[in-house]
């Protein structure tokens, strides 16, 4: 036993015949409207058959359609994206900073190196410690002073044993 929808489809496709066709037509509430609908369905069917060639390249069609949809639906570029793709990217800023630091360090080292000798040359010689053997020179005393005008440091030892002139020999 066919349902109404099955009979309707078969009628559209002209597959109902004989008694079955008569019974179906009798069951239609508005036969004129049904005939008009049948004509429309047949027109759509023939149109689809004509356009079947155009749909043979379905993948390309689908791709084109998807691209167009993507373009239309693409969001407005955000602020971070603009920064990332601009001239001053984060990476370039980082490299710029490192390079500047390196140049500064090199300059500082060179300047420091050049200034060091002149500043250090101001220093006088320093006597850190000194002593005489008390058993050899019991009366010896040591004093030290700097003659800043002459840039000379003097270690002054008094009380060492006096020696005869022959000790001046080479």
């Amino acid at each position: 036993m066919k349902t109404f929808e099955e009979k309707w489809t078969a009628w559209i496709d002209d597959e109902l015949t004989g008694r079955e066709l008569e019974e179906f037509l009798a069951s239609l509430p508005d036969r004129a409207a049904a005939q008009a609908e049948k004509q429309n369905a047949k027109q759509v069917g023939s149109l689809l058959r004509e356009q079947a060639i155009a749909l043979s390249n379905a993948d390309f069609f689908s791709h084109q359609l998807r691209e167009r949809l993507d373009r239309e639906n693409a969001p407005v570029r955000s602020e971070p994206d603009a920064i990332r793709t601009g001239w001053w990217t984060i990476r370039r800023l980082l490299w710029g900073g490192i390079t500047s630091l390196a140049v500064f360090t090199i300059c500082a080292v060179v300047v420091f190196r050049e200034s060091t000798p002149s500043s250090q040359s101001e220093y006088l010689t320093q006597i850190l410690e000194s002593r005489v053997d008390p058993t050899v020179s019991p009366n010896a005393t040591i004093s030290m002073f700097e003659k800043k005008d002459d840039h000379v440091t003097v270690l002054w030892v008094d009380g060492l044993q006096s020696l005869p002139p022959e000790y001046a020999a080479k």
Binding site: A102, Q120, P164
Partner: protein, 147 residues
């Protein structure tokens, strides 16, 4: 990126090696001098001439006779040497350089007898003068200069 980083490190290394370079080779002159007022028998040595005026003011002597000397070029800053005369010797032991100066341990011997022991930081710009014992009518003076 890695190549750039390596280049940066290499540049910095060169800069630091140039900047942190040690003192260039320098010579320390050490002299044993007899200061006196006796008539000169030989010309005053060039090293003494530079500070002759200072020595005159300090000791009141007019003549300076060199009886022993040593000239040592310091490469590592940790060398030792001896300046000797017939009866005196000065042993110098350099213990490295620091702030444009050499740290020296000095020992003055009269033959085998240790007369004086001292430690000094000898600056390039400033000679060290040591007053030694009286010798006859003169005075033993020790001078160290970075040349």
């Amino acid at each position: 990126m890695r190549r750039r980083l390596l280049l940066l490190i290499a540049t910095l290394s060169v800069a630091f090696s140039i900047g942190g370079a040690s003192l260039p080779e320098q010579t320390v002159w050490s002299g044993l001098i007899i200061a006196s007022n006796s008539p000169p028998t030989e010309p005053t040595p060039a090293e003494v001439t530079q500070i002759e005026g200072t020595l005159r003011k300090l000791f009141g002597y007019s003549q300076f006779q060199l009886i022993g000397e040593a000239r040592k070029t310091l490469k590592t800053g940790e060398e030792d040497w001896l300046a000797t005369s017939k009866y005196f010797s000065l042993h110098v032991d350099s213990r490295g350089e620091k702030a444009d100066a050499y740290v020296l341990n000095l020992k003055l011997f009269q033959e085998q007898k240790l007369l004086l022991e001292t430690k000094a930081r000898l600056s390039k710009a400033s000679p060290l003068v040591i007053r030694g014992p009286q010798v006859g009518d003169g005075q033993l003076v020790i001078v160290l200069v970075v040349q």
